[in-house]
């Protein structure tokens, strides 16, 4: 009996424990349920937020797209307007050129006495008229230059030039003018030549415009100095003067089109307002920069750099080694990097690994002949546009010659003179 009671008591205790455990479990369960519900709510909330954010993003993207489209259209319109403007300027300038020449020539021919003797007063007025018309002429030319640059139609005719020689020419050209104003024109450059692969006319124009500018803002006993310094990747040039200088507030406006202001003590407004803009554009086309240092009453220094571009590589293909070497000697002075080979097959291999600026090709080669080499060159994208100069020992057959003319490939019969070859090579490289 006692035994039974004990068991019952134990069972009772066990049930109590179970019941307690059950309660605990229930509580935990309900807590879990609560948490799950809360989690659910939060997930729901976040989802809504994400959906909302997504929608907003989509709207934004659509808006962006619309704006981009509008921008593209506006850009296109702007480009069109710009083209119309450039075209208009260029047409206008052309239409101005002929009448301008008639006025200018008419005055010139009276002034130089060809049309009969003049009284001093007539000379005086005609001289003023000539100065004015020359100014208009310069403006027309500057406008044309600028519209060509802006429309991307200006092509640099790069060739190997000696910058010191360019400076000498600028010096010669402006020395007389400077002397008349009693201004000293000086030049400073290293003893050796500075070779550069650049556009000769544009170099003259850059220096010329800067010197003209300096002449305008200098007076008696001032000094204008031309200077060049050779560097590793760039050549640095400077045109400085001891003239009136430029106000700080005006320096930023210097290279802006048509921006003209009298420098303190400056002698006039005779410029076109385009000269320095053109200088900037031309320097930049040559991979350089232009900047100014100036102090009022002390003077102005215009600096610009010109990027040193690699010398053009030329491939000479001629089965006669002596002739190939002779051609190389002919081109010695012009700073090219020259390779030679003696068969068409080798030439085609060479053009594969190196980028040549030009090929001088003999028509009569053993194995593959010159004409076949030309056909192969034409097939390849990389070589298609390399200018070729065709040489030949005897007169070409008319069928081949006609083809050359049709394809605009220049031909040069041997024997040729050094300078003739040099000129043609320069022309082809700059074209």
């Amino acid at each position: 009996m006692k035994e039974n009671k004990k068991i019952l008591e134990e069972l009772y205790e066990a049930r109590k424990t179970i019941s307690l455990l059950e309660d605990e479990l229930k509580e935990t369960n309900s807590g879990l349920l609560q948490m799950t519900l809360e989690m659910d709510d939060r997930v729901q909330e976040r989802s809504l937020e994400i959906i909302a954010a997504n929608e907003a993003l989509e709207r934004e993207i659509a808006e962006q797209k619309r704006l981009q489209k509008e921008l593209r259209q506006a850009n296109k319109k702007l480009k069109e307007v710009d083209e119309v403007k450039s075209d208009f300027l260029s047409k206008l300038s052309h239409e101005l050129r002929t009448p301008l020449s008639i006025i200018s020539e008419g005055i010139a021919i009276c002034l130089d006495g060809t049309a009969g003797p003049l009284l001093p007063k007539q000379t005086k007025f005609l001289t003023s008229a000539q100065d004015a018309i020359d100014r208009v002429g310069r403006l027309v030319n500057d406008l044309l230059d600028l519209s060509r640059i802006e429309s991307g139609k200006m092509i640099l005719r790069r060739r190997t030039i000696d910058l010191c020689e360019i400076m000498d020419r600028v010096y010669e050209q402006y020395n007389e003018k400077a002397k008349k104003k009693e201004i000293a024109l000086e030049k400073k450059y290293p003893d050796r030549s500075i070779k550069l692969f650049a556009d000769e006319d544009k170099m003259l124009q850059i220096f010329g415009n800067l010197v003209t500018n300096s002449l305008r803002f200098t007076k008696k006993r001032d000094i204008i100095t031309l200077e060049i310094k050779d560097g590793k990747d760039y050549v640095k040039c400077c045109v400085s003067d001891t003239g009136s200088g430029i106000n700080k507030k005006d320096i930023d406006k210097l290279f802006t089109k048509f921006e003209q202001f009298g420098r303190p003590g400056g002698t006039g407004y005779r410029g076109t307002g385009l000269g320095l803009t053109i200088v900037k554009e031309l320097v930049e086309e040559h991979g350089g920069k232009v900047w100014v240092e100036s102090e009022v009453k002390k003077g102005t220094r215009f600096y610009f750099t010109l990027e040193k571009v690699d010398f053009p590589k030329i491939l000479i293909v001629d089965d006669d080694e002596e002739i190939a070497r002779l051609i190389r000697t002919f081109l010695d002075e012009d700073n090219y990097e020259i390779d030679m080979c003696h068969t068409g097959e080798k030439a085609l291999l060479k053009v594969k690994d190196k980028t040549y600026a030009m090929i001088i090709l003999d028509m009569h080669l053993p194995g593959m002949n010159g004409d076949e080499v030309l056909q192969e060159l034409k097939k390849n994208k990389k070589t298609r546009n390399i200018p070729v100069l065709v040489t030949s020992g005897y007169l070409l057959e008319s069928s081949i010659l006609n083809k050359m003319v049709e394809d605009e490939i220049p031909t040069l019969p041997k024997p040729f003179k050094r300078n003739r070859l040099r000129d043609i090579v320069k022309d082809l490289l700059s074209g």
């Binding site: 052309h94 050129r97 002929t98 020449s101 008639i102 020539e105 005719r157």
Partner: protein, 125 residues
């Protein structure tokens, strides 16, 4: 006295041509004017000049058309040619000019000192 050197100006702007004519006559040349390529062609066949001053942009036929004509005519000796034009000279024009051995290209308004020098060098008075 030696015969004067002959120059032919082919230019549709008569007034301009006359001024250039006066200038060159002043230097001692005999100068004729043709107002278009056809007149120019006729003048060249009748009496070949020593030098032609040629405008490019002319009505009817342009300057290069005239040059092509002269070059394809074996009966005419190729004269010296100087281009004097109001047109913009781009690489295409230069290329074509090279083909016809044009000595120099001047654009209007031109550098008259250089112009006269060039003419004098090509055909000494």
């Amino acid at each position: 006295m030696a015969k004067k050197k002959r120059i032919l100006i082919v230019e549709d702007e008569r007034e301009f041509a006359e001024i250039v004519q006066a200038r060159l006559e002043g230097l001692g040349y005999e100068v004729d004017i043709a107002e278009d390529a056809y007149q120019g062609n006729k003048a060249i066949i009748t009496e070949p000049p020593d030098l032609i001053i040629l405008d490019l942009n002319m009505p009817v036929a342009d300057g290069f058309t005239l040059l092509k004509r002269i070059y394809s005519d074996p009966s005419v000796d190729n004269p010296e040619v100087v281009i004097l034009t109001g047109q913009t000279v781009d690489e295409k024009v230069r290329e074509e000019a090279r083909r016809y051995n044009v000595a120099e290209i001047f654009t209007k308004p031109y550098d008259r000192v250089k112009f006269v020098e060039t003419i004098k060098t090509l055909v000494p008075v």
